[in-house]
Amino acid sequence: MATTLQQLLDGLTQRATMPSPSATIADITGSLDHLGRALTGLAQDGITPGDSSRQRTTAELGAACLTAGRLWPHTGGPLTDLAGAAADLVGRDRDIMGRSHRWAVTVEVAEAADHCARLGRHVLPEAAAPELATVRELAVTVERIAQVEPPTASAFVVLDRLVAQPWTPGNASETTALDASAALVGAIERSRRTDDLSLRDFRAAVAAAEIISRSAGAVTAAASGDDAGPFLVTGLAWQVAGRASTVFDDGRGAGPIDARGVVACARTLAEAVRRDAGHLSDAGALEEDRDLPSVAASVQPVTGQLPVLANHLTAAVDRWSLTGRLYASARDLPPVNNMPEDRVQAVIVGRHVQAVGADLDHLRQTVVRATELSTGLADAFHRAAVAGPPAQRHQAALYVREVRASGVPERLLRHAQAVERDIATIRSPHQVPWNASPSR
């Protein structure tokens, strides 16, 4: 099952604070050793630009945890395993974390370290290991600093990043939607790191986003008892984004194909969502025999990941506008002011040209629109609360803030109206109709 750093730390805290803990001292110190590794790495990468109490205390806490971690030989155990996995994740995400992220992670790791050290003090006689008392003092200092310099909501989101479990495309029928979602975001991140996200990858991810949005919209409508129409607009926005990509060609041609790449992950995710949520009616409603809480529980984390996926796709379009990787017929590109002579010639003869800068404005606009509507849908889904509180609570809190921000509701309404205008021109009999009736 896919997991997050927050879930690992929560699991560690839960085990360390059980009423009748059964952990050995070697397991406890083993966990502190791993937490010390994580904190030391965070401090080395930098918590603040210069010297500060945050920076110093983080480094000192890391060192104290490492010292406590060497008190007993490592024999392993559940606390050690959870802390080890958490520390590995912190190390893995080093490249994507900024200072604000590192501070958010430090605060959560400090709390976990305090719980582990407190457990150690219960297991041992009070004077046996003063190193554990040092860990507690420094962990509490970190938490006290966090009271006056709290991490931002957007920084906390790094704790909610899904980490996929090892997965192969062949076992798609056994893959959960959550695992497939984590695998898809991971595959996109890998491709973007090497600047290798192809247009086919993009189209597959957009199609997956559309399928998730439609299912999430159907669940939200069924749970809230409201009309389905407004909740379906996000799926339609992704459809419009996919359509906007149609005019482009991938200039680079086929690169190395990854059997566990974006396309395979997107298809597996779509299959998993369809398996869990079932087929939607033409009006975008769930099948009547579907168990709503069960479907909602499956779709909830995937819906929470939708804005993450969407932000990657927006960034991909921005990147293409700089690199000129995509090509299109000059006639299909939006007109620009002071069109150069060679572009005028290309329009006249219908020649393909490299798409750069403003050439991708329309595609970008459709993706940004779908991205913001996805955040609104994720928030609406969480508010419907049919699946209980969200597992990725930092993400959910961020969506609430984003959607409630001044001017955003009006912007989402304008996005919805723009999607309605765009979708009205789709001509296929296979498409889901826009004039959706209420879900009830």
Partner: protein
């Protein structure tokens, strides 16, 4: 189109399936995914997708043409994992398209 079914069936089929997967004006998301996945697998098997128009502008006709091209492959090539999976994905797309 610079490839034809007889000389390079893998590339021919990959090109058509990629084109169907890109045509979001006519093709719903789930079918587009099937086709993009099939194209990806055919490239994994050695094909090379190139920009191509749909057969008569028709997604179903294009998928059928791609499937026809795959049927030209020798038994060993067709039975290779990626090609067989691609053939199945294409068949599923055609069935969903109705």
């Amino acid at each position: 189109m610079t490839v034809d079914a007889a000389s390079d069936p893998l590339s021919y089929a990959a090109s058509l399936l990629d084109a169907v997967g890109a045509d979001r004006e006519q093709v719903p998301a789930d079918i587009a995914l099937d086709c993009l996945y099939a194209a990806e697998l055919l490239e994994l098997a050695g094909g090379r997708a190139r920009t191509t128009p749909l057969v008569d502008g028709d997604p179903a006709a294009s998928i059928r043409a791609a499937m026809g091209a795959l049927s030209l492959l020798d038994d060993d090539t067709f039975a290779a994992g990626p090609v067989l999976d691609a053939a199945r994905a294409a068949r599923q797309a055609l069935r969903r398209l109705g």
